[in-house]
Symmetry: C2
Subunit: 397 residues, 2 copies
């Protein structure tokens, strides 16, 4: 994974501006504009309360059969829980960009993040879209990545090269949303551009699989927001032919990097823990156990305290609704085995100290071997800390 100072991707321009949606005056509108309509795919929040921009972007991708010219993003206001008026505003955002670019409205996706329940200040949003489009440049990706932030500590970008036969393709991505810890429902927005040539239907399949292995496998608090979105646009400029497995590997690597930045950047997060489940009967079981352990508040407080309280991990394993043979289960913290055959290993206080040493690391892996089969899965977890409570209890009041 490389990060370079001047981020660009053939076939795209990036723009940003300060439209005055945020009271702070920080940048709050960003655009990605493709040189021509390009293949695009997206995955959206599974929350039943989908914000207006999610509804509008989903419809655009369907109507355009996965061909987009641009995406317009605002921060500072989520346009969520805003009813029919919110949908009209999201459509007006798309229309403003479409008219400026001279393309059909369905070739524009929109995304929003920020406070919920308030109407968008359209008198500032619409001129802001014009300004962001006017500011577009080949090297403006970092500015775009900055304009989508809310409470994040800083810009989160990643960049990689994928090998597709004899061709190298670029993937360039950014994300926001301090690990779903921040207030404002902690929306996660992620945008990826690539010069790889990938048909829209294949791009959708590949994105879905890559998202399931990365962004859909992180847990700060188990909640998903009304506005979550991952959008990928592929210009095709690399001119690759043949198999796309190298592209899928690259996209998965890029999204893994971004999701770890997201989790580690959360306020109050001191430990990013990979919960790895092996020896499961099938993938669904492996995933259910990994998710249940990663989401357990008792596990997260144990992670926060660096407490080698292995019983909590076993208890969470047992709460996943997956049939288990307790006598086959093993538990490791990085390379230190704490439980074998469902019972604690010999070692007493010295073993506890070795596990505590692993748990003091900023990142480590807890491996749970179910001893039942060959399927595996992983999930990212983190600590549930005093800062989490402070940030989330005291927001708004």
């Amino acid at each position: 994974m490389r990060r370079v100072s001047k981020l660009s991707c053939a076939g795209f321009r990036f723009g940003a501006t300060r439209a005055g949606i945020k009271a702070s005056g920080a940048p709050d509108i960003g655009v990605i504009v493709a040189d021509e309509p390009t293949a695009a795919a997206a995955v959206f929040t599974s929350n039943q309360f989908k914000a207006a921009p999610v509804l509008v972007s989903r419809a655009a991708l369907r109507k355009s059969a996965g061909r987009l010219r641009a995406v317009v993003v605002n921060s500072g206001n989520a346009n969520a829980c805003t009813g029919a008026a919110g949908v009209r505003d999201a459509r007006a955002m798309a229309a403003r960009a479409a008219d400026a670019l001279g393309v059909p409205h369905e070739q524009i996706a929109v995304a929003s993040t920020g406070v919920i329940g308030d109407p968008l200040p359209m008198d500032r949003v619409l001129p802001g879209i014009d300004a962001a489009l006017g500011a577009g440049s080949r090297g403006g990706f970092t500015e775009f990545a900055g304009a989508i932030l809310t409470t994040d500590r800083g810009v989160k970008t990643a960049h990689t090269r994928a090998t597709l036969g004899a061709t190298k393709a670029t993937l360039l991505g950014c994300t926001k949303g301090a690990g779903m810890i921040a207030p404002n429902l902690a929306t996660t927005l992620t945008f990826v551009t690539t010069d790889a040539r990938v048909p829209a239907d294949r791009l959708q399949e590949i994105l879905q699989r890559a998202a399931d292995r990365t962004f859909n496998a992180i847990s700060v608090d188990g909640d998903t927001s009304t506005n979550d979105m991952i959008l990928v646009m592929a210009s095709g400029r690399a001119g690759n032919r043949g198999a796309l497995s190298g592209f899928e590997d690259g996209l998965t690597e890029l999204l893994d990097d971004l999701s770890r930045q997201l989790m580690g950047g959360g306020e109050g997060v001191h430990h990013v823990v990979t919960v790895r489940v092996v020896g499961a009967r099938h993938d669904r079981a492996a995933r259910a156990v990994a998710r249940t352990v990663a989401n357990s508040p008792l596990v997260k407080t144990a992670i926060a305290g660096g407490d080698p309280n292995w019983g909590r991990f076993l208890m969470a394993v047992g709460n996943a609704g997956v049939p288990l043979a307790a006598s086959r289960v093993a538990l490791r913290f990085d390379d230190v085995t704490m439980v074998e055959g469902g019972v604690a290993c010999e070692g007493g206080a010295a073993l506890d100290a070795r596990v505590a040493a692993v748990m003091s690391r900023p990142s480590y892996t807890v491996t749970i071997d179910l001893g039942q089969g060959r399927a595996d899965a992983h999930y990212l977890s983190c600590d549930l800390s005093h800062e989490y409570v402070t940030i989330n209890a005291d927001y708004r009041t």
Copy 2:
């Protein structure tokens, strides 16, 4: 609901002793002994890691076809994650009481709560069982209720009378486990004696329904322990005949009282919140929404902060996996309506202040109307506070 100073129930004796399992020297073995084998029923933890006493008690109820002479409980050691040796120890506890009472081993249930992973100190447990049996008396219920505690602030008992035709029956219960907040996996043990006449198979059905409406509908952290158990014994001394609906009402009332004591008694719990879902298409949907909202860490931190952040409640509603029409959803805090038709009501800061006033109460009800049908359900939730993190992060270290 009455609480009387001298608790008793016809057909039972209760005993307790200090066996030295707890380092503190507090009472740690309790027994309930029926005058003769009586109808009994139990519900056990759904955790896949079932502690040895759960396995042994479940087998006893099956073998005896729901007829028990006694239950033996120890605190201070959970006999969980102890492998085959743990099962032998749990059987030895039952055998000791059975031999003393001259009944088959399968007429004795056992329960344990306390630290996990350590072998039971049988050299203290077995003489302790003898001593507790010897100390048995008609009025010893409060002593029994004290001997099952771990980190609880105090004894939790409840007492009610059920009307069964022309007969009045007594129900007497106790519980432990500071709202699943305490360490030691926070086992919940609940014991109920009654003089009602209820066949064992009917008792099992009634207990299951009553537990689903009460203990299975509380959420402190969504985790269930390896040792959880609710056991009911019915002596039949009241001599009732005919329908048992009055008994079911009484048992539900008793378990509701005990579950609220459990939740409110948790360290760091300042608000017990009833999450009530109405207008659902069917019971399963109502229950899923109530559980998801009650378990959401973002909702719990909002409860802790007394923050009228209605977006978090809606977001959690949307995360339940239940298809919804957002535009039909309403949200009330006690009698204050905050959201109607999926959007915030007019009222601004004054409305926020009225909601904040409700949220400052030690107990209140959040009503979520899905506007889709006639099914309803409720779940108890509470605040996720700094004390929760402190208690659970710092345990053992």
